[in-house]
């Protein structure tokens, strides 16, 4: 970790797709156990920032450090091991593997890190219970509702007890009641495990589950904590 205790930091990130920059000198930092909402207009660079922080997209320049390690200096294998072992992901539309049952989907990140099938599925079931969807464990994603599928995806993001959770509009496809319940369960689980949560959302009621918000505008990120 850095001297100020941040778990993940980014400095002066730049990323252009063609002539227009998606990120234009963005800074970011998050501490363990902290939930930070990333807000800002459509197309301002929120998802690009999240993807750079998570090592999914390589920035043109700038630095991303996780736990003292510079992402750009890692090899591909090391970076994907980091993504599998230390990071968890939730996106707007669950993105579950359609051929696997829900339990198998949730167990998948554990299986990829070498956990035996029985243990992995046991832990997967515990997370499904916590997310209140144990009953859909044996079903395939195509056979469950959108709200249930999203809870399964949240369970999958938590199953490895990641140190950073990346969520891009995790409740975007849900109604208010389901969306809030998912946020409640998600942030509670994250706080218990001291995971840091990077939460991209345009919904204020979702952002209200965060500790502070960062506004991305024109590829720059403004930390609003203490701005008022």
């Amino acid at each position: 970790m850095t001297p100020d205790g941040a778990l993940l930091t980014a400095q002066d990130l730049r990323k252009a797709y063609g002539p227009t920059p998606a990120l234009d000198g963005a800074d970011f930092s998050i501490h363990p156990g902290e939930v930070v909402a990333v807000m800002g207009p459509s197309g301002s660079g929120k998802s690009t920032l999240l993807h750079c922080l998570a090592g999914i997209v390589r920035p043109d320049s700038g630095s991303v450090r996780f736990d003292g390690r510079e992402l750009s200096q890692m090899g591909d294998a090391e970076r994907s091991a980091l993504r599998r072992g230390e990071f968890g992901f939730v996106f707007q539309f669950g993105q579950l593997v359609p051929e696997l049952t829900c339990v198998e989907n949730v167990a998948l990140p554990l299986r990829l890190t070498g956990v035996k099938r029985k243990d992995a599925e046991g832990r997967a079931l515990e997370w499904l219970e916590r997310l209140e969807v144990a009953e859909v464990g044996g079903k395939r994603p195509g056979q469950v509702s959108g709200g249930q599928g999203q809870r399964v995806a949240v369970a999958r993001s938590l199953v490895t007890s990641p140190r950073v959770l990346f969520a891009d509009e995790p409740t975007g496809a849900l109604d208010s009641l389901n969306g809030e319940r998912v946020m409640e369960l998600f942030t509670q689980a994250a706080r218990e495990t001291r995971a840091a949560v990077v939460l991209v959302t345009h919904e204020a009621r979702v952002a209200a589950y965060s500790d502070r918000e960062v506004v991305v505008r024109d590829g720059k990120a403004r930390d609003m904590a203490g701005a008022v």
């Binding site: 807000m39 207009p41 209200a208 918000e213 008022v228």
Partner: protein
Amino acid sequence: MSIGLTLLGLLESGPRHGYDLKRAFDERFGQNRPLHYGQVYSTMSRLLKNGLVEVDGIEHGSGPDRKRYAITEAGVTDVAQWLSQPEAPEPYLQSTLYTKVVLALLTGRDANDLLDVQRSEHLRLMRDLTQQKRTGELADQLICDHALFHLEADLRWLELTAARLGQLAKEVRP
């Protein structure tokens, strides 16, 4: 909403006569309730007394008040402070927020900034309400939800306004 600060904000783009100020106010902000001349003159004499405006010239002729007012440095400071200070979140803020956004655009200030700061203020209250909701009973939850939906409505309007700032800037500053 403060009429004094709004008139001051309008004066920031250049000196104006009292009647001219009233017309500018009515055009931009007076949709349902145009100002009375009396209100303008009493407000201006208060601003004058407090050193926020000064008399920039007097027109000769008849009529109630032919003074031309100019904003002072103290006046500019007051406008800047008002615009940079978020409003306490409460129902029916939109006319104040609208006035602030338009004045920020008219005076060349960063309206996005104003919106971000106001969002931050709203979110602060929304976090408290969300926390209360998590720990409260069902009745508390319902009451908190009502407040949360209203605050969210304010913010959605703010976001929409932010997305249209470019267009609004062209209309208020052709």
